[in-house]
Each structure stands twice: as C-alpha cells, then as structure tokens.
C-alpha cells in the first residue's frame, strides 16, 4: 500500500508527486504518456529545451523523479474506493497493473474542446492541441498550408509554432472579438509580455490574424483541400464568406477536463466559467471524497502555471494529512496567492473567449456530430423530436457518444444540441451525463479477466445484459476481444454481477 498515487504526469501531477515524495511519502506517479510532462511539457525524445517556455522548471521536476516510482505508459481505466488503481501498461502489449494507495491525486488534465462543422471529419482537420502535440512531441508539422481557427489565446502558440517549423499559416481565425484584452492582462506583466511576443511573431511570419471569424466548412475529396471562412456578426451568424485553400486545419475551442476518474469516485463537480464540467476542490485541493485530491485542469482550465501551483499545494496537503508533515506557512501563503491570481486571470480569459452558440446554426442536417458512430445533426434532432432533450437520452436514441471515444469528442456538442432543442443551454447535470465513463479507457476482455474487479467467469461468457435504470438499448458486444465501453458503462466494477450494461 503506497501513501499516494498521482494520476497524470503533466505540470500538476509532476509537481504534486515530487512535492509529496520530497516530504517523505511513498509515491507512485502513473501516466499514459511515454515521456513525463503532459501536454505543456510534451517533448521530443531528443529535446534540449531550447524552444520550450519554462523548461528549467520541468527539468527540476524530472530530475526529482528518482524520489518516487514513476510509471509511464500506464493507462488508468478504473479507480476503486479505498483506493485501488487499475491500469494497463505498454502501448501495444497491454499488461494489467494494480496499485493500492491511501490517497489519490487526480491530475489528468484536459483535451481539446471540439465543435462540429460541415467537413470537420475530413483527414487534415485536427484539433489545435493535436497539431501542437505533433510538433512538440514528434517534430512533425501537421501540414504545409495550415488554417488555425477556433477561440482562445492557445491558437497563437499553435500558429506561430507551425510557422516557426516551416509551415505556411494561411491565417488565424479567432471566433471572438476580445476587446479589452489589454485591460484583462493589465496587472499580469508576464502574460502581457507573452501576448506581445506572439503579436511580434505573427508579424514576422506574416500570419493574418482575424477576430470575429470562424471556419464554417471544410472541403475536399478524401482530405481537406480548402475551408470556408466567415466573418461573424454579433449573433454569431456568418455575414461574409470566402474560401481559403489549405491542406490542414488546426481548430480548437478551449479545453474539456478529463474527469472520468473523479466521476467514478463520486467527486462533486460543477460548471466552470468556460462552460466545462470541473471537479470541486477546496483550498487544499481536496475533493468532496476523503482521500481524493484534484489539481490542474481537472479543477478548471487555467494553463500550465496554475497546474504547477495546484499540484504543489495538493502534494503539501497530502503530506500533511498522511504524514503530519507541516508545510512552511509562508510558502503556502505565497502559493495560495499565486493560485488566486492565476485563477482570476483564467476566468478573465474564459469570459473574453466564450463559445458562441451560433455554431449550431452552421450545421447541416447531414453534418456528422459523433465521429465514432457517424451520427449526424439530423439524427440528434430526430432524437430530440422523440423527447430526448437531455444528452443522455439523446445519446441512447441516436447513439451519439457511444463509440470508441465514449463521447469525449462530441459530448460538449451533443449536450448543447440536445438542450437547445428545448430552448435551454446545458447545465452541469447534462455535462455530467456525458462525462460518466465507468471504464476510462478501452480494455480488452482478456485483461479484465486477468485483473479486474469484475470476476473473470462473468466476463468470459456472453454476459447477461440488464438495463440499469429502465433505459433500453443495445448491449455492447465485444468483437475483436476489445470491450467497447459506452459512457453508460460496459462494466460494473463493484458488484460484478452484470458486467456488461447496455450503452
């Protein structure tokens, strides 16, 4: 039994794990990635850090990993009360691994928030973060002529990074018109410096930057060859359109925190200023479940610096709770003040770069919303017509969100489409309905049989299927021995009686 298991080795998880281990606790740090660093410190195998902001801070954390047990390439798919962490190790030969710990620190970060538009599933359309990950982790530019679009300051490092690596960036199309940006960054000298730096790079690489614009369609035969870009009016309707030739689109509308593990554990959630579901954490980064802490983007999207601070606070709090190791009060006060300042900045950014609901009007009936199950906007509208006005029923009727990704990609869009069909916007319960994933990662039945809290004989045969709360539906049938876990859960880990539920 370890003192602490930290899930996620991004800025938050690294800071939490190193802080707790330095205080003397027995810590395991589990991460799906091949190298430590998460999204912000994602790096190439031969990275020197020359182009990385804040690389020194990362090197200090990485060098401290010998104080703890670091487990890269481990994908956590379930955490049981008490706590037992179930993971699969290896990127091709999956080995089931379990880790018992008295405390869990959740630092699983976020993924890009995507919005559908006609043609968005053409190859060559990537998330903004995906293009960035290719560049940082693999030193590959996603394409030669790239359009960057969506909303938020994150589009700037993506565009200038691609241009710096030799791609032509045909334009950055920012959906909002963030007037008052200067006022919002006032008092945040570091952020102002960053913004000025990006502005200079846009000029140097001759990248057009247009606010109040969106990519409203992608075109091409088998891959993207052009996009339609529209100028938007105040209501988000397109007023003037033009076609831009490109081979790649990097598009992102902010981020969605990865909450499957805290939701599995029953941690309380809330809706943040950017409309994302986040974990509720107190001043010491404690969630509503005793022994479970959350840090970084799981508690609200706010960038790497905030993740580092929250991670350190979580590590200190765990050390105090488990080992009675009191932190230096002045140091804690400094961290708390820094967290407050960075949170306030993040909130100002969320307000400056909202997602305008006008994106829904730009969909056609045949526009794919759920990429996995190929569910169109028309089918979601039909489901709404049949009374599915919350995302969960919309999902059950239309199958949106039931495929491989379990609604991670389309969950936000489906929530909005279902809720707006009855004239409202989605609330935290709608978002929670699409965030529930009792199995956080696809798991082969064989691995479940080897390790899981589910008893093997119940999985080995074609198991009984019992609707959980009166909702009908098709059973999830494993084909190639891979369990396709729908968001409703393919496995009921605790009672083990009917492991496969209809999803």
């Amino acid at each position: 039994m370890r003192d602490v298991v930290v899930i996620g080795a991004g800025p938050a998880g690294l800071a939490a794990a190193v802080t707790a281990a330095t205080a003397g606790l027995d810590v395991a740090l589990v991460d799906a990635g091949r190298r430590p660093g998460g999204q912000y410190y994602r790096h190439h195998a031969a990275e020197t850090g020359a182009l990385h902001h804040g690389w020194d801070a990362f090197v200090r954390l990485r060098d401290a990993l010998d104080r703890l047990t670091y487990l890269p390439g481990h994908r956590v798919w379930n955490v049981e009360d008490g706590f037992t962490v179930h993971a699969l190790a290896g990127d091709r030969d999956e080995r089931p691994v379990r880790i018992d710990a008295r405390t869990v620190i959740v630092a699983t970060g976020a993924h890009d928030r995507s919005l559908p538009f006609p043609g968005w599933d053409l190859p060559g359309v990537l998330t903004a973060g995906g293009a960035q990950a290719l560049l940082k982790g693999d030193r590959v530019t996603a394409g030669e002529r790239v359009v960057v679009a969506g909303t938020g300051p994150f589009l700037l490092p993506v565009a200038t990074g691609l241009a710096g690596a030799g791609a032509t960036v045909a334009g950055v199309f920012e959906g909002n018109r963030p007037y008052g940006f200067a006022r919002r960054v006032a008092g945040h000298a570091d952020k102002l410096r960053e913004a000025v730096g990006y502005a200079a790079l846009l000029v140097r690489y001759r990248i057009p930057y247009r606010t109040g614009h969106a990519v409203v369609a992608a075109h091409g035969d088998g891959r993207v060859e052009a996009v339609t870009v529209a100028r938007l009016d105040r209501d988000g309707a397109s007023v003037r359109e033009r076609v831009i030739v490109c081979d790649t689109v990097a598009v992102g509308y902010g981020f969605t925190p990865q909450l499957e593990i805290p939701v599995q554990l029953g941690c309380a959630t809330r809706m943040d200023a950017d409309g994302s579901l986040v974990v509720v954490a107190d001043a010491a980064q404690r969630t509503s479940v005793p022994g479970v802490y959350a840090a970084g983007e799981t508690t609200g999207v706010g960038g790497a610096q905030l993740s580092l601070v929250e991670g350190e606070l979580a590590g200190l709090a765990a050390a105090e709770a488990l080992g009675g190791i009191a932190a230096d009060p002045a140091g804690v006060r400094r961290l708390v003040a820094r967290r407050r300042r960075l949170r306030a900045f993040a909130e100002a950014m969320h307000r400056a770069y909202p997602v305008h609901p006008g994106w829904m009007d730009r969909l056609r009936d045949d526009t794919i919303v759920c990429r996995c199950e190929e569910v169109t906007r028309g089918r979601i509208a039909e489901a709404a017509g049949l009374g599915a006005t919350d995302p969960r029923s919309a999902k059950l009727l239309s199958r949106a969100g039931m495929g491989w990704c379990q609604g991670r990609v389309c969950g936000y869009a489906t929530s909005w489409l279902a809720a707006s069909a009855c004239g409202r916007s989605p609330g935290p319960d709608d978002l929670l309905g699409t965030a529930r994933r009792p199995i956080a990662q696809p798991v082969r039945l064989r691995d479940l049989a080897d390790d899981a809290p589910v008893r093997p004989h119940e999985v080995a045969q074609d198991p009984p299927v019992r609707p959980r709360d009166g909702a009908g539906g098709r059973p999830v049938r494993p084909r190639d021995g891979t369990l396709r876990a729908g968001p409703e859960g393919a496995v009921r880990p605790r009672d083990g009686n009917h492991p496969i539920n209809p999803a």
């Binding site: 999204q39 993924h111 190859p123 995906g130 290719l134 396709r484």
Partner: protein
Amino acid sequence: MSQIVFEGRPVPFEPGQSIGAALTAAGIRSWRTTRFGGRPRGLFCGIGVCFDCLITVNGRPSLRACMVEARPGDVVQGGGPDA
C-alpha cells in the same frame, strides 16, 4: 533512418516518433475508413482521446497510431476489424 512498412510501402521515422507522426510526415493523412459511411480517418486529437487513428501493427488491431511509438520493421495497416 529507420523504417516501418505501411501497406507495403516503406515509411521512414525518427526514433521516438509515434506511428501516426511518421505517417503524417510522409504525407499519409488517413489509414482507415469508418464502418457505415466508409469515411477516411487519420489523426484528429493527437493525444489518444478520439480513437480516429486506429491502426493494426504487426497483426495487432485497434491500436492508436498517435500513442504507439514506431519500431524498425513494424508492419502497419489501417484500422481494426471494428474500425
């Protein structure tokens, strides 16, 4: 430079690169089609979230091309039985 073999054709990669990155660098944008509409799919999220990039490596189906590091001589085909 090391190579993998994608549908019979050699594709170079740098050590540490994912299979998805190697294919993208070689100008290959998609490597499977969807079950219903036969729509092409390649990289989308780049970080293991979307499962668009499913690939078969040395006969092992349904791996994520963005997550699996390329190894010399890997034989790669698109998708999996379900993809």
